[in-house]
Amino acid sequence: MRIEHLRLRGFRCYAAAEATFAPGLTAVVGANGAGKTSLLEAVHFTLAGYSPRTSSETRCIRQGDAFFRLEARAVSGGQERSTTAALQAGEPRRLTLDAKPIRSVAAFAVAFECLVFLPERLAVVQRAPAIRRAYLDRAVVRADPAHARETAAYGRALAQRNAALRRVRAGAATAASLDPWDERLATHGSAIIEGRARLCAALAAPFAEVLRDLGGGPGAALRYAPRVGAAELAGALAERRSRDIERAVTGTGPHLDDIALAEGGRELRAFGSQGEQRTAVLALLLAEARLVTERLGEAPVLLLDDVFSELDADRRRRLIMVVRELGQAIVTTTEREHLPAPPDTLLTVRAGTVTMSV
C-alpha cells in the first residue's frame, strides 16, 4: 500500500503545494515550524480520514483561508485509489473515496492502513495506564473494527453501574438493581479482555523481534495481565459488590488494566531512558505494522514524525533498516545528517513550500 501524490490547499502553513512520494523511504527535511509534521498530518488525513494530531480540525485551515482541501492518489490492494478531504469552518469535513462521498472514516480504514508515530505517542510508555489501554484498544479496533462497539458499550455499562452504585449507597435503590449492570459489564468486559489478550499475544513476538532489531536489549516483553480473566469477571464483580457500594465506584474490570512493557526484565516506564522508551514505542508500532502486513498481505503506510531525535547513530541506522523492510515510509527530520542513508525521495520543506530533490 502506498501514497503516490498529494496536493494541499489552505492546509496549516501550506497555501498551495504538492508532493510526490516514492514507494520506499521518503525523508521530509526542514527547520522547526517549516511544515514537516503538517505534511504527515495531511497524508494521514487523506488515508485515514481524520487528523492524528488534533480533534479540532478547523485548526488545520490555514490562517486567512476559508477552507482546506487535500487530494491524494494512492495504491491499495494493487488498485489505484483517489481520495479527497476538505473542511470549511463550521461545516462537517467532506471526504471522498474514488470520487464518491464517504460519511464515515470506517470506509477509509477498510481501504487503507496507515500507522503513525508522533512524538506525543511517547506517553504510551511514559505516562498513566489509561493511555496504554486507549492505545491498545485502538490497535484492537484496527485489527477488528467491530470491536469498537464493545469498547463503547462497556463505557456506557460502567457509567450506568457506577450511577447505580451511588443510588444504592444513597438508599435510593436496592442492591438487586445492580444485577443487570453486573451482567452487561461482564458481557462487554469479557469481550474487551479477550480482544486485548488476543492482540497482545499476537504482538508479543514481533515486538520482541523488532525491539531487538532496533538495538534494544534482550528480554523484551509485552504483557497484558488483566486483573480479572474474561471468564471470572462476573464472579469478581459479585464478590466486590459490597466494597463497590461503599465507594460508589466499580473497583475491578478491564477499565483498570495495564499493559507491561519491559526490556531486559525492567519496566520501561520506570527505568527506561528517553531513547529506550522511544525505541519501545516505535517497536510497538512496527510490530503492529508486521501484523497488518501478515493480515493484508501488504504493508501499511508508515508515517514517522521526528523519530531520529534522542536516538544514537546506531539506532537510527537500525530503525531505517527495519522500516525499509516493511514498505512505504515517510519520515521527518530537522537534520539531513540524521539520515543514515540517502532516501528514495528527499522532500525539503521551507515556509509552506515542498521541493523535491533527487
Binding site: 453501574r161 436496592t174 444485577d179 443487570p180 452487561r184
Partner: protein, 196 residues
C-alpha cells in the same frame, strides 16, 4: 413581538417533542388562520384524551376505562405476556398480526444515570401478574439497547422461577442484503441461527 396569548401558544407547542421554535410558530399561525371550530376541535380532543385515557389496570398500556382493548378482548391468549418499554411499542407488534397474547408496559427502561430504578418501572406489577398463575411464557421485547438489554436481564431473573422467559431474536431485516449488514447484527444472526 407576538401578542401575549399567541406567544403562550407558541411556548406550549414548543414543549412538544420534535418541535422547535420555528415549527411552533408555524403551527400557531396555522391555528389562528383556520376556522375557529377546527382549532377548537384540537383543543377538545386534547381535553377529552386527558380526561378519558389512563393506564390499563392490568398491563399499563393506554386505556379508555379500566382495561385496554387488548386486555378486554376475551379472544386474546392469556398464557402469553409480551413485555415492552412504552405504550407506543405495542403498535408495531400489533401490526405484525402474528401475536395473539397480552402485553405488559414497563413505562421505560432501567437507567441509573437518569435515576430510573426497578421501583420506577411496573416490574413488581408484572411479577404479581405472572405469580398469579396461568402464564406460560413471557416474551421480553425491550429495545436492543444498553438500557433495554439490562432491563430484560433484570426482569428475566425475577420471572424465571415462574414461567418460560424468552427474548426477541435479533438479526437480519427481511429483504436485506448480506453484503450491507453490519457486523454486530450479522454476528447475532449467526449466533441465533436455526435448523431448517
Amino acid at each position: 413581538m407576538l401578542p401575549p396569548a399567541a406567544e403562550r401558544l407558541v411556548a406550549e407547542l414548543e414543549r412538544l417533542p420534535g418541535v422547535g421554535r420555528r415549527t411552533a410558530q408555524r403551527l400557531a399561525f396555522h391555528l389562528l388562520r383556520v376556522p375557529e371550530s377546527e382549532a377548537l376541535n384540537l383543543a377538545t380532543a386534547i381535553t377529552v384524551v386527558r380526561e378519558r385515557i389512563g393506564f390499563c389496570q392490568e398491563c399499563f398500556s393506554l386505556a379508555e376505562g379500566d382495561l385496554c382493548t387488548t386486555c378486554a378482548d376475551p379472544r386474546r391468549d392469556t398464557t402469553m405476556i409480551c413485555v415492552v418499554e412504552t405504550p407506543s411499542d405495542v403498535i408495531p407488534i400489533e401490526r405484525t398480526a402474528s401475536y395473539r397474547g397480552r402485553y405488559h408496559v414497563l413505562g421505560g427502561a432501567l437507567s441509573p444515570i437518569d435515576g430510573v430504578d426497578p421501583d420506577d418501572l411496573r416490574i413488581a406489577e408484572l411479577v404479581r401478574r405472572v405469580e398469579r398463575g396461568g402464564v406460560d411464557e413471557v416474551i421480553l421485547a425491550t429495545n436492543p439497547t444498553m438500557t433495554g438489554e439490562a432491563t430484560a436481564s433484570f426482569v428475566a431473573g425475577l420471572l424465571r422461577p415462574h414461567a418460560r422467559v424468552t427474548r426477541l431474536a435479533s438479526g437480519l431485516p427481511v429483504g436485506a442484503d448480506l453484503e450491507f449488514a453490519d457486523e454486530v447484527t450479522l454476528g447475532r444472526a449467526l449466533a441465533g441461527r436455526r435448523d431448517l
